[in-house]
Subunit: 192 residues, 2 copies
DNA sequence: CGTTGTATTGACACTGGTCAAGCATGGTGG
DNA sequence: CCACCATGCTTGACCAGTGTCAATACAACG
């Protein structure tokens, strides 16, 4: 993926949707779909996007000819795994407000990863229903929680833009850990 | 991992625990721990276990010298990813009873993968508190839901053993999909 | 036997869901 | 340009599913 915002999700047969992950520029998409006959998850663009499709048969060539790339893909898939486990812990063990706070922090950090100019203010290109489907809540309750975060002066909103007024307090309240530090790739051989 | 039952989990700083996954013979453990300075998840044995530790520096050698193995590791990590996303959808969008039913089915299927003799009856080596920490519930509520499943004649219990009385109905109720079919590895070159 | 961990059950509280209505907003076609 | 409509946001009243707390019953084990 080169540009834009996408999401991956699953639909349950009662019609409800669980959003698994939001995808930004630089993400590698659809690996799981390459493994199964029927992809276990769906992708959907949330803005204009640019992607680079590739044929999955090229994957095994790449694994054979570029072992360092292969290692990096493996590292990437582990980073994604950890992101999913963090989300799992949030859904299983934290309150609605905490989940939303964590999602806001996560989105800001990921946007910031490709646009260093972003600091406290950012546009989350999501409806409240999408936030709900990502956090396991209803859009109604998402609205209530956003309002509460606003009343507590932790965030501010106007239009589609959110401002993190007290990032420290937000992260503390949300039990949020920024994983995009603390990678240890010492075992990887350097670029050849 | 060669033998036994383990689990991976995270602890939140309010002391609560989210169990991420149960691990059985044949699983590859600790990859995520190899990537970060501080492992983002913990492992714990739930029975006597046999594992084969390996040095992570060997990983890059393996990637370079055995591309087919490298591909298989990547495939494995995608299978794990899908298992996590299924769990995510369960936690976010299904009821307590559904989550427990899905967990029972999942455990039975994974036990069955290494012991074909297992059919409807199996020993889940878990306390109700562990079931709760895996499904995002309290042990008290797990107990209530197990009782209900029992009253509905979907399962039976005695000692630590569970019997799936009506697997079909259970799977339907739980929205459960058995992913251990439908893999498509056609793009992988055959064993050399 | 005490001790410890687990299972079970009941009463009650609270978080978050449901339903319904009212507002904005922006796009569309006449 | 304006009526119209769809979509998303906001809010309130009420309800259901889970959590909390507490007490009891078991069983395994030293």
């Amino acid at each position: 993926m080169r540009k834009g915002l996408m999401m991956s999700y699953v639909l349950l047969d009662d019609g409800s949707r669980q959003i698994l992950r939001f995808h930004f520029a630089g993400d590698l998409l659809g690996l799981s779909g390459a493994i199964y006959h029927e992809s276990p998850e769906s992708l959907c663009a949330l803005s204009d996007c640019v992607v680079c499709p590739f044929d999955r048969s090229l994957l095994s060539d790449l694994m054979a000819e570029h072992p360092r790339l292969a290692s990096l893909i493996l590292v990437y898939s582990q980073i994604e795994r950890v992101a999913l486990t963090d989300r799992l812990a949030a859904l299983g063990r934290t309150s609605a407000k905490q989940r939303i706070a964590a999602l806001l922090l996560e989105l800001r950090n990921r946007i910031r990863a490709t646009d260093k100019s972003v600091e406290k203010v950012f546009a989350l290109g999501l409806t409240q229903e999408e936030i709900g489907d990502a956090t396991g809540l209803t859009s109604v309750h998402v609205n209530r929680m956003l309002r509460q975060l606003e009343e507590e002066r932790l965030i501010a909103r106007e239009g589609g833009r959110v401002t993190l007024l007290d990032e420290r307090a937000l992260a503390r309240a949300a039990n949020y850990v920024n994983r995009y530090q603390a990678l240890d790739l010492g075992w990887l051989p350097g670029p050849s």
